[in-house]
Every structure is written in C-alpha cells, then in structure tokens.
C-alpha cells in the first residue's frame, strides 16, 4: 500500500514535469517561429509585390497573394520598357557589377594568398608587425580615404570607370584576404615546408605543390566573402562612379529614388530582388563557407 502510494506520486511528478517540458518545448518553437516570420516577412513581401500589378497593390495589402503570377515587372526592371531617354533598367549595371567583381575578387584573393603564405611560412623578423600593419586596414572607416581616392582615380584617368572600381575593391580587400589566408596557413605544419626546402624546392614550387592543393576551403571562404562584399558595396560605387559605369547597387538606388514618374513598387521590388539574387544564391548554396567567412572576417561588417 505504502509502496503503491509512493510510486503513483512519483509518476504524478514525472507526469507534471513532462507537461512543463512540453509546454516549454511549445514555447520554444513558438518564439523561434515568431522570429523566423520577422526575418522572412520582407522577402515574402518583396516577392509577392513584384508579382502583382499596381492595381492589385493598391487594392490588397502587403500580404495578399497575387491573383495571377505575373513577371512583367521583372522584365521591366531587367530590360526596361523600350523607350529611349529616362528608361532606366538594371541589365547594363548588372554586367558592370560582374565585370567589376570577377577581376577584383581574383586579384585580391591572389595577393592575399601570397601574402598570407609569406607571413606564415617564410617568417622574418618583424613579420608580426607587418601583419598588424595590414590587419588595421580591415577597420578603417572608408570615409577617411574617400577624398584622396577620388583625386587619385582622377589623376590616373580611371575615375567613373569599372577599372577604377576594380582597383579600389582589390586594394581594400587585401587586408581581409590576407587575414583569411594567414590564419589558415598558420595551422599548416611548417615541417612540411622545411622538408620541401631541404629537398631543394623553391618559393613558388612549395606554394603550388604543397599549400595550394590543400587551400580549397579557404579559397572558397575568401572568394565568397570578397564576392559578397564587392557585389553589395554602395559607398565606393556611388562615390567613384555615376551614369553608365555604375554598379548594380547604385543603379538600384537611383531607380528606386527617381521621382520622374508614378511610383511602381512592383518594379522596385523586382529590381531589389534582381540586385540581391546573386549573393542569395551563393548563401543558399555555400552557407557553411559564407558563415565561416563572416565569423572570421566579420570586422568589416
């Protein structure tokens, strides 16, 4: 009897804690999903708005599903309406951004890999100071270099050109790419390099035969980081280029701000999606590397 009573009370207690636990679980999921909807809301609104006609936008609310899937505003955002002056659309600027991103990512990654290699495998007196010297470049607010940069680009005759922007993005990417490669190569055992040196391998041979083959992960991280940063840049693009040489973020901003005609929010949203899609695709396909870059190169913000 006594035993029986005790065991049932124990069961009751267990039951009770089970209920609290279940309640806690539900609460947990509730909060997580609540935040998920806050984060997903703007993307949903963007997509839905871009698929509606202006008429539908005025009648419905932000959340209303479009009555028919209609990609007209995407076509307008990408290729314009086909009349001459004042018809701005993203296609040429999208290509400007591609022409800017590809060489800038390549050069900055290459220089960063080489510098990181020297700083870790060919150490010399004061190499730590050199690293610190380069690292500080990650942190400067770019406002402190805008004025002289504008003058320099003018002197070189490459202001308002894609070439100028490639130079700017290459230079200010070097501190980050160096940081990435340096932190990666420092964990590669130096014995490997020493053995190769004894065998008579030279500077470049060691890099291409020993380090490069194991560098795939850090190259992916660096390329994704640089691609995202340069694609999304607005400060340099808007300061050093205008008109036809502008990259896509600048063009998007100009399109949205232009007050020449009736606002077409569906075209605005389609433009914003087009400008955001390349980096979103990279994020979805290679999220792991994206996050790794973010947490180690996060200083730039």
């Amino acid at each position: 009897m006594q035993d029986n009573y005790q065991s049932s009370s124990y069961k009751e207690l267990e039951q009770k804690s089970k209920y609290t636990n279940m309640f806690l679980r539900w609460f947990l999921y509730f909060v997580l999903i609540l935040f998920a909807s806050y984060f997903i809301f703007p993307l949903y609104v963007m997509v839905v708005t871009s698929l509606k006609t202006m008429e539908e936008i005025r009648q419905g609310t932000l959340l209303t599903w479009p009555s028919s899937i209609n990609f007209d505003s995407w076509l307008v955002a990408w290729g314009g309406r086909g009349y001459g002056a004042g018809d701005t659309f993203l296609r040429p600027y999208f290509w400007n951004s591609i022409k800017m991103v590809v060489p800038a990512v390549f050069f900055s990654t290459f220089i960063g890999a080489m510098t990181g290699y020297v700083l870790t495998k060919w150490r010399f007196k004061g190499d730590q100071w050199v690293f610190l010297f380069l690292l500080f470049g990650c942190f400067i607010p770019f406002q402190a270099i805008l004025l002289p940069m504008a003058r320099t680009l003018g002197t070189l005759g490459i202001s308002n050109s894609v070439v100028g922007l490639v130079l700017v993005h290459t230079v200010y990417g070097i501190p980050f790419t160096t940081l990435f490669f340096r932190n990666y190569y420092i964990s590669v055992p130096t014995e490997l390099v020493k053995a190769a040196r004894i065998d008579g391998a030279g500077f470049f041979k060691i890099f291409f035969k020993i380090l490069l083959p194991i560098s795939a992960p850090i190259i992916v991280v660096t390329v994704i980081w640089q691609f995202t940063q340069i694609w999304n840049d607005f400060l340099f693009g808007s300061t050093f280029s205008f008109g036809e040489a502008a990259p896509i973020q600048v063009a998007l901003n100009n399109m949205v701000l232009s007050s020449t005609s009736v606002k077409e929010y569906n075209v605005d949203m389609a433009s914003a999606i087009i400008a955001g899609i390349p980096t979103l695709i990279v994020y979805v396909l290679a999220g792991k590397y994206f996050i790794r870059g973010l947490t180690s190169g996060a200083v730039k913000g």
Binding site: L28, V31, F35, A36, F39, F41, P42, L43, M46, T49, R58, T61, L62, L63, I111, T115, Y117, V118, L119, V130, L132, F133, L134, F136, G137, F139, I140, P141, Q143, A144, I145, L146, L147, M149, R151, V171, Y172, P175, T178, W231, L235, T239, Q249, L252, N253, V256, Y265, D268, A275, G276, L280, Y283, G287, F290, I291, L294, T295, A298, V299, G301
Partner: protein, 291 residues
C-alpha cells in the same frame, strides 16, 4: 644578383600588399588628416589653418544631430541585436528540429546589401500602402504607422531594418560560442541540481564574454559606418532628422564643396572607430600570443 633575388623573394612577393596598403590606407588617412587642418573648400589647399574645421564641425547643428542620431542608433542597434541574437542562439541550442532551416532564415539578410534591405523596408514602412494599410484593411481603422515620414520616429525605422539585417549574425556568433563549450561542464552543473535557466545565466553566458566583446566591436563598427541603409531608407530625412556622420561626410565632400570640413568629420569617425578597435586588436593579439 640571382642569389639576392632568391633570398629576398618572399619579401618581394609581399611588397605589393604592403605597398598598396601603405599608400592607400596609411598615406590616404594622413592626407585626410592634413587636409582637415586646412581651409580647403572646393579643392584641397595646403596652407595650414589650425583647428578651424573642427571648431566649425562641432558648431554645426547638422553634425550635432548626426552624432546624436549615431548614439541613439548605436545603443538600440546593439541592445536589440545582442538580445535577439542570444535568445535565438540559446533556443536553437535545445536540439531543435529543423535547426538548419531556421538558421538559414535568421542569417540570410546578411547576404543582402543594405540598399536591397533599405528598398524592401522602405516599401513595407510606406505610410499609405505598407503596414499601415495592412492593419486598416484588417479592421483597425485608426491604426497609424508613419515613422518613415515622422521626424521624431524616422531614426527608429533605421534601427528596425538594421536589426533585421544583423541580428542573425550575432546569433551565429553566440551559437558557435555555445557549441564550443565542453558538454561535461553543463552535465556537471545539472548533476549539482542546476536548472536549465541557471546553467545558461550563471555558467554559459559568463563564459561567452569574448563573444560579447566581439559582437560589441563588430556592431559598433557597423553602426559608425552606416551609410547605405540611411541612403536607401530615408536619405537622412525627413529634413535632416536621420542624418549620420557618414552621410554628413560624403555630402560635405561631394555635394557642398566643404573638403576641409568633410576631412575633419572623417577624422572624427576614424578616431571613434580607433577607440573601439585598438583595445580589441590588443586583446586579440594577447590572446593569440598566450595560446
């Protein structure tokens, strides 16, 4: 000659990086510093003029509003990003189903540019067709939400969009931090009878001190440099109610022909960043050397 080349090859390979950064970072900052002490207007002049530009800067109402906005924005941006980031990280750490999907959703705004973010939020906050209309159509007839065009409230719309963009990132930092803690520590605490809340509040969060520090530095850094988001969302308006130092600087430099003044404002931003970054770099390097 060949021997010399071979011996110095590493330094020669490193020279472009050092040269470029030396010129384009250090040289340029020094140039800006010098110009901030001159009376440059449309074009840079090189005769020294003393602290005149700094006096002008701190007497300017627009600059004072910029600094004020920056302080308000930074404080709110920090608090919301860190609180939301920690809550999401702790909750996600409870062996949640579909954790990967949720993480992806929380972090994807980081992949978008501030211009895209600003464009989207500008539409959502649109006083006639955005959220306000949504609530009115749902039957809340007197609902008003006009922060975007309200001088007093517009700065908070920048906070909303900024937090949306960056909170997931703080979540990622804290989640990585929590996952790196040894399981034994948590187990031992639970055997001692500590509840889940106590485990987090008394043990795990205090262990996250470096993560707090990193998040703080990065978020402050983002907020001092915020430029794109304001351009896309409010252009500093209505009036100049949401202007910030970065916006002040570019406007003075490229629209108002106040080169000297803009250099002075850039140097103020530089010093603000340095005040946060130098202690951070120092402690990071010390940690690395201690390893």
């Amino acid at each position: 000659m060949f021997k010399w080349l071979e011996k110095n090859l590493p330094k020669i390979v490193m020279a472009p990086a050092v040269g470029l950064i030396g010129w384009f970072v250090y040289g340029f900052v020094l140039w800006t510093l010098y110009i901030s002490f001159t009376n440059s207007k449309i074009l840079p002049k090189y005769e020294l003029w003393g602290f005149g530009q700094y006096e002008k800067l701190w007497a300017s109402r627009k600059w004072l509003i910029s600094v004020d906005n920056l302080l308000v924005f930074t404080a709110l941006f920090l608090i919301f990003c860190i609180v939301i980031g920690i809550i999401l990280a702790i909750f996600l750490d409870q062996k949640i189903r579909a954790e990967g999907v949720l993480r992806t959703i929380y972090l994807y705004p980081m992949a978008l540019s501030f211009i895209v973010t600003g464009t989207a939020w500008k539409w959502i906050l649109n006083p006639t067709l955005g959220i306000q209309k949504m609530f009115i159509d749902w039957g809340f007839e007197n609902f008003t939400f006009d922060w975007l065009v309200n001088r007093e409230m517009a700065i908070y719309t920048i906070v909303i969009a900024g937090v949306w963009q960056s909170a997931g990132f703080v979540m990622a930092l804290f989640l990585a931090g929590l996952r790196s803690v040894e399981d034994e520590i948590v187990k031992a605490a639970k055997i001692d009878g500590a509840g889940l809340f106590t485990v987090y509040w008394k043990i795990l969060l205090p262990m996250m001190r470096p993560v707090f520090f990193t998040s703080f530095v990065i978020l402050v850094h983002i907020s001092i440099k915020s430029y794109d988001l304001i351009v896309a969302l409010t252009q500093g308006g209505p009036g100049i109610s949401t202007t910030m130092p970065a916006l002040f600087m570019t406007q003075a430099a490229f629209h108002k022909s106040q080169v000297g003044l803009s250099a002075a404002s850039a140097m103020m931003m530089f010093m603000a960043v340095a005040a946060v970054i130098i202690p951070y770099l120092y402690s990071e390097l010390r940690r690395e050397n201690a390893r």
